[in-house]
Amino acid sequence: MTRWLLPAAVLAVLIALPHGLKSYGIYLLSLWAVYAMAAMGLNLTLGYAGQVSLAQAAFLGIGAYVSALLTVNGVSFWLALPLAGLVCFAVGILLGFPALRVQHHYLAFVTLGFNALVFLVLRNEEWLTGGTYGVEGIPRPSLLGLPTQSPIGFYYLSLGFLVVLSFALYALLRSPWGRAFAALRENPTRAESLGVDIRAYTLLAFAIGSGVGGLAGAFYAPLVEFIDPTPFDLGTSLALLLMVVVGGSGYFAGPFLGAALVMLLPEWLRFSESLYLLLYALLVMVLMATCPSGLLGLWAQARERLSRRRPPPPVLETRT
């Protein structure tokens, strides 16, 4: 079971980390956990099932508003959380329908339009969403009397949910569904001729990815305690896409790494002051141009090259 060693070690670090940090650091860690969830959802849609989406921030937003509006009105977070996921799952199915007709960059534009639409609804439907004033006083959830309202407590809660979600998605991707998603991504025509219901799987890929985005949003709202439409605009969708792609789209750990990098890089680049956005953009461009399969893709290539140096294991070649 050596493959569980690294995840366990990373988890241990994530558990120990907040003890050395001030509250802003803990806030960033919690935000990382939330973005990692949302990116994990997008990774399923894009990385595993091959369906481009530029709308993940919209689902983060829908999930956040569902969770915020319910909890400020006294509904338990633990009921609001699955509801946020379900609402986004259902809306995700709807967003999947265009994907049955168009692919790639066309689909990117359709989903981009959807993100803009959701943003406008959040901003303009003041009676429901509070418009630009947003929703404030979002309570943090409690769990079994644990101190989950404190920054560190809420971080552990988010981290715990991230772990649960990871196991669930891992199981899903290892099930026959995961294989069908890959077949859909690699060659839909062939997949269909083999009996893969590509319509159903396309809709499912959007629905599950969006649902996971909604769950992330449900955690986002109590983390920041005040939400308005701004953090759910297209820029965030692009950032989430960047997280998936930089980490390594279609690699299970990609979103974790990608979310950390996309969040931390700007912090690290602060030293360069006004140049930081420029440097950031440059770094991303260089990485994407040299390694489109992301950091984990780079790692996989390096490992392959290393293992090739050893003499290959003797295999009886059949003459083909």
Binding site: A182, A191, L194
Partner: protein, 247 residues
Amino acid sequence: MTALLQVEGLARSFGAIKAVDGVSFEVGAGEVVGLIGPNGSGKSTLFNCILGQIGPSAGQVTFEGQQITRRSPLALNRLGIGRTFQMLQVFPRLSVRDNLIVAGQEHEGRLFGRLLAPPDAGLGAAADEMLEQFRLSHVAHQAAGDCSFGQQKLLDIAMAFMTGPRLVLLDEPAGGVNPNMLGDLHALLRRLNADRRTTFVVIEHNMEFVMRLCDRVLVLAQGRILAEGTPEQVRANPAVIEAYLGD
């Protein structure tokens, strides 16, 4: 013998080109039928019209007495029809073994049942047997895209059999396969035909291969059936020699 597959007056044009121009034929259960003809004579288009990949402009297709004209490729798979495409079509980033499993896992059962099924969908043993038969066991865990062309070609063919189809349409199975391997492929297809009574329609340019494999051969030229008969009859047919074998 009642026909397993009946094609009547099938036609399809692309602009001014009549790719398939009123084709009718029957295939009996258990038969191995070859489909030959010059490049561009409409063989692949005929397959795609039968298999719901492209809509025919006229004509009817019947499978086991059931109307299947314009049914989707998905529905035809569920009915028990397998196929390969002329161009190699495997899933390059899945392992060879996973290619086989995914080729079989969706054939039966319900979508939500598969979510809860074991990871190999209960097809691990069947996939291993298929790997053995097609001599792919040693690359089972390699990404399909990393295999040699010949290996991918064999995998591509093997995938069509994972659902235990009653009818399989193969588009140039011998194309690009090493001559050493052709004998094996011939034996394999013949064995599948004998053991499972799988019926075949095979498009092929390799004359030696197709003549040895098939019980009966159809010759297509400019979208029409030019000749039909046993390999010997077709080989001796002057019209065929002129249109095809002569050049």
